[in-house]
Symmetry: C3
Subunit: 161 residues, 3 copies
């Protein structure tokens, strides 16, 4: 069994099923796209256990608290791990995390953006450990995110050759 | 003749000339920058046939409709293909699309961002087909874009070795 | 002695010490993360000589002038060079700049974003020259940046093999 799958079990984490887009929405791109030993990760948001987007919607710092933003970033991480697991077959194929771009649907004046995206970084570090899970990051405030999502995250990882 | 050039002709598409920046604007960077087998694509916007930036300006969801945003994203795609063709010599050198980052100048509350950036994804898939044209994507709402452009897109592609 | 270190001396530039985060802020990611011959650069902001974040805060086009934004982008560049120098040991290891993503904390209606991020591009070109320093770039307006910073920049560079 995969080390990372073991670690997810140990942490009591369950990965969500593939995203069920909102009705009428067409998303003509891949969630994860492998080119050589690089896996690109499309912008993901938080999902529920049935695959749909989380009902947590709105701006962090207004409709949502920073703590809810942190949870949304953690759920976004589980959605990304789920897409990676489906595309790669085995999360142990990840040799290193690269870049993480964390986008917060920010209420005017809300600039505690790093503590929101920490929900994602903490998850990756818990699951992959401090070496494989190490990454660079930006955590910034967007004007709008699709479907009023509170958080969207994209990035890329490197695969074992 | 190049397969992709043939395909552009078949689709009736003409690529615009190099960007003519607005008067007094200095842009000290490359439109496309090749490093090894990676070609980085700078942020591009929609152009007109004479090379200048499109007169379509303003926020999607306010001054512009989502349909106009879709057209702006498609024009942005043609601008990017034009920069790639000049730098690479031949668009057939593209082995795979990687990451696409689609930025919409979004009016407050306008969150139908994916359908705007579909104007870009649909073009890339039409021109390169579902395998070579496959990519990951984010479609997000920025507070401001240069010169009031409605759409700006950056990304990267991989070249045949 | 390193060519780039010589060039910094010649230009009278001093790199700041490692970032001292604001009190109570946890940043669980790397400033620079090397994977193979790629060095990812996390989102950086302007620093002062003592390592703390610059007191220049607020939106460019409102609290700050475009000229102050340009200076903030230049200081952000020095912060990035400092992180790269610490991680790489020697800035001469940089073979090529890749992608630069320049984010401006933009006041409503402020769209002169390229001239702000020119503060970064001009620095990189001054220090590395027109070939090694060549890069692609986006310069866009974010709704909010961490700690009210006026500018945040991320990117990636390629290392000599």
């Amino acid at each position: 069994m995969s080390d990372i799958a073991d670690r997810l079990t140990e942490l009591g984490l369950t990965l969500p099923p593939p995203l069920v887009p909102p009705p009428g929405v067409r998303l003509p791109f891949r969630s994860v796209h492998v080119v050589g030993d690089l896996a690109y990760i499309a912008g993901h948001g938080p999902q529920t256990a049935d695959g749909s987007l989380s009902p947590l919607r709105g701006k962090v710092g207004a409709q949502l608290t920073p703590e809810q933003g942190y949870q949304a970033a953690r759920l976004t991480g589980l959605s990304i791990l789920s897409s990676l697991a489906r595309e790669l077959g085995d999360l142990d194929r990840i040799a290193a995390w690269g870049r993480v771009f964390g986008m917060v649907n920010a209420a005017p004046g809300f600039d505690r953006l790093p503590e929101v995206i920490n929900g994602f970084s903490d998850l990756v570090l818990d699951v992959f450990g401090p070496e494989t899970g190490a990454h660079t990051r930006s955590a910034v405030g967007l004007a709008e995110l699709p479907f009023g999502l509170p958080v969207e995250i994209e990035g890329q990882v490197h695969l074992r050759r």
